[in-house]
Symmetry: C2
Subunit: 175 residues, 2 copies
């Protein structure tokens, strides 16, 4: 499966790197989509550095089967760009798998795709979600149809497990 | 006037330092209230480093005449601590001046004090505020009763000007 990983600087290092590695190990293709192609992207802990392989000006949702939104401060940067918001919304409209951890659901708030699916997030974002009328719970991983969400770095193993499980379920015809 | 400045790591350097210096220059007393007394607090740009002079376990709203909430990633850290949320709410309940810039209003969302006053914030937080039913506008500074808000570093001069003006207006009896 072709997974778009939307990423900007100051992401939570482990929330990007561990799922990213796990997806690749299972044979999935992961493309880092940033605000600008080639932009160097350092994690907030300074432990991981990567690069945007594609800029949002060139990325098309049709090129991907799933969307991965790591946490940290990255999602709040991404949602300041309308193209990232439109890109995110397209995955929901098409019913494609979306994996969001920690602050990742901030992008879902701005994209207006928070109504309906049961979800979780980092605790401060759980509060935002509750206030905007989302169906939010406090547990390590929540799977609702095509959406997988988790709260924090300690949830990563459950987040990876459920995301991989969902990728297995997507009908071959849609790949 | 005695101003409490609530601060945690990764604040926006200029949004803390410039108003902080301006308040002091005008003879106001500013105390940095952090999550833990003595904690070293470095800005996200790495340009400013300071220390929490008082921990939230010891700070009492009655000790202060006004509240200052700098932006950056700091407000999202602060609102994860219930004591900071209660501390913030007390200033609104008492009608004391509150100055919040950029991501500062995130703390107002969690403290449930966003309904009523006209305000502004960093553009992504403007969106959150709109969704939760706040009266939000997009301008460099908004003054509504005891609340002064601004959007970003370029608004700092207007933010300082209006905050100082409001401090002058507070009746001497309440000092």
């Amino acid at each position: 499966m072709r997974i778009a990983c939307v990423l900007d600087v100051d992401y939570e290092d482990s929330e990007f790197k561990q799922p990213y590695d796990a997806f690749k190990e299972q044979g999935h293709q992961v493309t880092i989509v940033g605000l600008q192609s080639g932009k160097e992207l350092k994690g907030k802990q300074g432990k991981v550095t990567t690069k945007a392989e594609t800029g949002i000006d060139q990325a098309r949702p049709e090129q991907f089967d799933a969307l991965f939104i790591p946490g940290g401060y990255s999602p709040d940067h991404l949602r300041a760009d309308r193209r990232m918001v439109t890109f995110t919304k397209a995955f929901f409209d098409a019913g494609k798998p979306v994996f969001a951890i920690c602050h990742g659901p901030q992008l879902l708030i701005t994209a207006r795709v928070f109504k309906g699916p049961k979800m979780t997030a980092w605790k401060t974002i759980q509060d935002d979600l509750q206030l905007v009328g989302a169906n939010v719970v406090d547990q390590e991983v929540v799977v609702d149809k095509n959406l997988v969400t988790s709260r924090q770095p300690s949830d990563i193993p459950a987040f990876i497990r459920e995301s991989l499980k969902l990728l297995e379920k997507v009908p071959v015809g849609s790949r």
